[in-house]
Every structure is written in C-alpha cells, then in structure tokens.
Amino acid sequence: MRASRLSLLGLCVALTSSVFAFEPLPLAQQGGVSQVMLTCTACHGDALMGVAAAGFPRLAGQSADYLAKQLYDFKAGKRSNPFMQQFAAGLSDQDIQSVTRFFAALPAAQYARPNRAAAASDLGARLALRGAWERNVPECVSCHGPGGVGVGKTFPPLAGQPAAYLANQLHDWQKGVRRNDPNDLMGHIAKALNEEEIQAVSDYFAGLPAGGAR
C-alpha cells in the first residue's frame, strides 16, 4: 500500500516537471485533451474514477463548473495541494474549459442514495443523515443530496469518493488551507467536527454500496 502510494506520487512529480513546471503551454500546443488526460489519469485513475488507496478523488461525472472552479482556486491558492497547484498553473482558460467538460461527460458509477428518511445507526450515518444540529452542523445530504450524489455546480458528489480524500478536505478546511467554499458554508462545518467524526463520515460516503436505489 505504502509503496504504491509512493510510486503514484513519484509519477505525479515526474509528470509535473515534464509537462507543466517549466514551460506552461496552452493545451492545444501540448496535444490537446489527450495530453492533459495522461497527466490526470496518472493520479486519478484510467477512467478518472479516483484511486482510493492514494486518496485521489474521482473526477468522472463531476460538474464541469465545479471542477473548473477548483482549478481556478488551485491557481489562486484558495485550495492547497502542491501537485494540483502546479498542474493548474499551466492551464489556460480554454484548457480548463475543455478538460472539465470532458470529465463531466464521463460516465460515473452510481451509488445507493439514502436520504434523511433512512435509518442511521452509526456515527457516520448519523452525521450524513441527521447532522449534529446542537453544533449547527446540518445533515450532509441536505446540500449534497441523497447519498451525497452531488447537487448542481456548488455541492460536489461525496458518494464513492475515497475516504482519505474526504477526510483530507475536512482537515484542510479545519486548517484553513482550503477556503474556497461559498460563504464558509463548509469551513464552519469542518471546524465543528472532531477527528472521530471526520473519519466516520468520510468512511460512510466512501463505503456507500453501488446501485442507484434509495
């Protein structure tokens, strides 16, 4: 596990240096989407479905607007990740538009979609489906949709994302290195959660069974 994570990171570093770090070029001059795709698939998986072991998120089927905002936010330093910030720095507006539209059109797996009506026995399910309102933490599904399916251009899918990715994001919000959410809607929630809750709710969404049924 450790070795595979390191080798993936190594690959990313290599790609970072060769493709983007020294001479950022518009996509077209690098061979278009296919060249960028090579770079992306190295970490996000062949079908861009993410790599759970490494905590690299799924991009396939995500909202193009949401993904584009993340790339701009990496550029602007409102979201922190050394590799992604470097990749994003080399992308033109046109690149970002092309690549995010491409990702959005890719098929994504379907997961179960429990909503607030579902039973919630463990800690992760309780946070997802009931919230922790005594601390003003709404149910995750109240914005991210049933099963965290994702809603519109603002609320990304949580279902099937690697637990490590979800936990990393909550940690980044806690630390203030991710601060690209509208009106601090997510930041204040992350800051209200303890470590056990972060792990539990991340595991909950990562572990939702496949299938579109409620």
Binding site: N115, A117, S142, G145, V149, L185
Partner: protein
Amino acid sequence: MKHLIPFALCLASAATAHAANIAMEDQSQLPAAPAKAEHSEWFQPPHEKDLPNDGFGQLVREGRAIFVDTRNQAGEYVGNGMNCTNCHLDQGRKANSAPLWGAYTMYPAYRKKNDKVNSFAERIQGCFQFSMNGTAPAVDSHIINAITAYSYWLATGAPVGKALPGRLYPVVQEPAGGYDLARGEQVYQQQCAVCHGDNGEGQKAGKDYVLPPLWGKDSYNWGAGMHRINTAAGFIRHNMPLGKGGTLSDADAWHVAAYMNSHERPQDPRLIDGSIEKTRDKYHADDGVNLYGKVVNGVMLGQGVD
C-alpha cells in the same frame, strides 16, 4: 367518528379551490414563545436511539420519515417541492425553527378567526393545504396519525398547555424605515442564491428537490404562514443560511424575507369568487405583514402560478 369519514372524503374529493374545502382556514399564530432564561437549555426532545421497538416506536419512526421526506412518503397530499423539515429544521427538533415539541402541547386551541377549537391534527392538515400546497389527509389517516405520534414523542416530558421558549420562530423587529426590496435582493444574491438558485427555483438531484424552491409553482402557497414577511424574517434570522443561523442582521432578515415574498407563488386555496381583492380583504388584511393583493413594481401580487 364513523360519520366524519365520508365528510372528510367529500372535502378531499372536491378538488377545486374553494373556501369550503379548507379544513383549517386560520394560519394565525398562537401565543408567542417566552424568552429563555439565561444559562438554561432549550427543551431537549428524546433521542432516536431510545425509541422502543414496538408498535408505538414503529409509528413514530414512520412519522419521522414522512416529516423529512414528505414528497416521497405522502406524495398524494403534496402539491409542491417541499418537505416538512424544510421549515422545521433538524427533523422538527430545532428550537426557534417551529419545533414539533413546542407545538404539540399547545393544542387543541381556540382560534377566533375561524371561531372554532382546532385539534393538533387539524393544524397539520393546514400545513398540507398551505405550506405543502396540497390537500389535507383525513384526520384519522395514517399520515396524520404518524406525524402526531412523532410530535407527541418529541414532546415527551414537555408541560401541556405551557408555551415553551424556542417554540415557533422568534419575533424579529421590523427595521425602523421598513423593509427594502432592493437591499433584500442584494442579500438574496449574496447569501441565498448559492443554494436556492438565482430565481428562487431551488435545486434538485434527479427528480427530488434537495434545496427547496422559495417561490414559483413548487413553493409554498399564498396561504402559508411563511408568506408573511414577519414570519419569514423570524425563520431566516435564526435558521438561514443553513447551519449559519443568527449571522444575518434583523434588518437584513426582513429585507430578504420581503424580497422572497414579493414573488408569485401558488394561489391561496381560500380564494373567494376568483377575486384577489376579496381574498386579500378577508384573509390577508389582518395577517401580519404580507404582500398578497398588494401592487409591487406595477403588478398586483396574488395572481398565483400553476
């Protein structure tokens, strides 16, 4: 009891809007909540995990499910995109968000406007007709029984007939210069549109609304309590943006409540003879601060949308 059932069926089957169909005409409010003593807790409803595994526990669970997923679980009585919990946050448990534990113990209650004593069941019927823009399930239906059982359970240990702190939405003082629709639009675009959409249309995942529509055909109708600007201001001030209640000023809560309620929505089902003016004079003239039948930007509100 038996002879009431055909009567209720008649009410439900006479589909078109007519005042005689309305099980509960009055949307005015009962006594306001007293202030909470300093350092004291809000009333604490019981925990879901403590529900017994018997017939009662089962009915309470079903009531909870209807309350949070109304469109799917009681769809034939819902005429819009709302769920009960959209206006009663935290499954009807949250103080200052019209919690069910604050309502259950205050019924039956006499209301002078319709000159009768309303049962709690009739009060829930009112929610279905106005806030849900639908039709009222019969008083002895499973849906009303289940929601009543859920409310009763949430009120476990609450004193009967005593207004508790945290019930209803708190009263928020109207700004000295009155509300300002232009400022309300600003607040809306900055704070609300990210979830509810640029035009109050809400947002869906598949066929289900996740973030509720605030005006238009899938929102609450002109007879719902939330159509009053004063009521909406109280809700917004203490509960919106979701998870960040208490962050808007009193004045901004009023401005944005007025902006929200200056848009068209489904007709008041009590509409009299097709006349907005008659309906306004009978039901809206003495019902808090509202814009039904008022002219805004040259257009009279209260036309309704289908």
